[in-house]
Amino acid sequence: MKNTLKNPAVYLMFVLPTVILYGLFFLYPMFSSVFYAFTDWDGLNPAKFIGFDNFTKAFSDDQFHVAIWNNMSFLLFSVILQVPVIIVFALLISNVKKFQGFYKTTVFIPSILSTSVIGILWGFIYDPDIGPIAAFLKFFGVEPIYWLAESKWAMKAILITNAWQWVGFYIILILAAILAIPRDIDEAAAIDGATAPQRAWYLTLPLIKPIISVVVMLSIAGAMRVVDVVLVMTNGGPAGTTEVMGSIMVNKAIKYGEYGYGMSLAIIIFAFALVLTAIYQLTFGRTERIEY
């Protein structure tokens, strides 16, 4: 009877499509990226092996320094500003009874939408002539500000758009963890006279530390690979001030045909994400398993 589930032909029929697609679209590109990252290659002529030249070139390029700093701004903005806000909102939602479902549903909406459409939408909001922010400021007599065209503002404008898109998603992640904590722990503390802020700080927060770690690690990964929102809103401008590692990678490869260089940037991005995650894991992110 067991032979039915030992039929190799059937097994192959089910497994092969995945193995082939996976090999073709994951493993092969992965290995070829690593290979070409060490070459000078324009996509037409044979690739020339140049050792670590692409990597030294990247790290001595001023434009790439700006990009690294911008990726770091994404990271710092989300970890220092967004994460505390996210935790507070998640705590607030977990504590209300009325409208809890409504809040949950609403805050999640931006994270299911296309980043490019959100970029267009916020381009409209930021428009200096007819955007609502300009109209609002005009009411107070403030001259229109070119949010996306002034190097002083462009990066901040993108960071806010990005936050608008993702904060709700993380709120829901943390909220789910809070709601999974057994209620009697909280009730016992309340009976013992702990106030709501005390319970949040001494009880809930330590219990959701693992999921906060997850949020921080997702933020690291997200901040390193960010690219769509920049391409759509400013395409790196004005004067390269909003360029991120991903946008340089895409433009160098597709626009200028520097494919070998582009692939070395892909590896640098991956390495940044890996190293930052490891640093976080070894310092603040250490968590023990929690049993209720």
Partner: protein, 276 residues
């Protein structure tokens, strides 16, 4: 603090946040029903003077939103359907069939890919689709989308199939079902909730994807909504009423889907990210 204030303070803060989330949408819907930039700039926060639905007809045909919409819809749906079926078949073989060792290797390799950021493979995939001579066609999106969704799909569906009771398949086999019959008539129907979740997550991912769609497709008639919308904005920069209409067309299907299936969508997307 008085009791009523303490009770309503969280709601005041949360409502303020909800307004920040919803305001851009309301603003866009209003603007899409206004006649021109002049009307938007004169009264940006006011209701439209008269409901100017012409924008919708104009955007749909003149701005080719209809084409983008159809392209997005059929690539998004077909790739998600094929991806779910392939992933379900593989998950069945990995979790229910008796090839322990090879299943373990396949599963671990797939798990490993969750570490790789998708954008990192972008350039290599560009060459791959060039070499396969599918660049510039919808296949250049269909295959990477289908393949890209497989790891998450296999992991999620496998987790679900593992939990099915053994007795069920024993009974089915005694009754004379083949492995394929067992898969199609017993396991697939029982796994339906997981399949629906995976389908929606993959569909949303395809519907929203920008990077590949932008660089692997150059013909305007073949563009999908996210890239078509950017081209549309650049062409109609001056007409924000029309751009707003385009945004409504692209966001509405997602919101309708969300209205009906928000539980699966929220669970699926958060599960996908945490495992990744």
């Amino acid at each position: 603090m008085p009791r009523t204030l303490r009770k309503s303070l969280p709601h005041i803060v949360l409502m303020a946040y909800v307004v920040i989330i919803l305001f851009p949408f309301v603003f866009v819907v209003f603007s899409s029903l206004k006649e021109s930039n002049v009307e938007i700039s004169q009264a940006p926060f006011a209701l439209p003077k008269s409901l100017y639905f012409e924008n919708y007809a104009k955007a749909w045909t003149q701005a080719k939103i209809d084409k983008y919409f159809v392209n997005s819809a059929y690539i998004g749906v077909s790739s998600a359907v094929i991806g779910v079926l392939i992933a379900a078949g593989t998950s069945f073989a990995l979790t229910r069939m008796k090839f322990r060792n090879s299943s373990k290797i396949v599963y671990q390799t797939i798990l490993f890919s969750m570490l790789i950021p998708a954008n990192g493979l972008f350039i290599a995939q560009y060459f791959l689709v060039s070499d396969l001579h599918i660049i510039g066609t919808h296949w250049a999106l269909f295959w990477p989308y289908t393949a890209g969704a497989l790891p998450f799909s296999v992991l999620l569906i496998s987790a679900f199939m593992k939990s099915l009771p053994n007795e069920l398949e024993e009974a089915a086999i005694i009754d004379g079902l083949s492995a394929v019959g067992l898969f199609a008539r017993i396991v697939l129907p029982l796994t339906l909730p997981a399949l629906v979740t995976v389908f929606i997550i993959n569909f949303l991912g395809n519907w929203n994807e920008y990077l590949l769609a932008n660089f692997f497709i150059s013909k305007d008639a073949l563009r999908t909504l996210p890239t078509g919308m950017v081209g549309f904005r650049d062409a109609y920069q001056m007409n924000y009423a029309l751009v707003s209409t385009g945004i409504v067309f692209s966001v509405l299907p997602v919101l309708i889907l969300y209205a009906f299936l928000q539980k699966q969508i929220i669970e699926g997307i958060t599960a996908g990210s945490v495992k990744g």
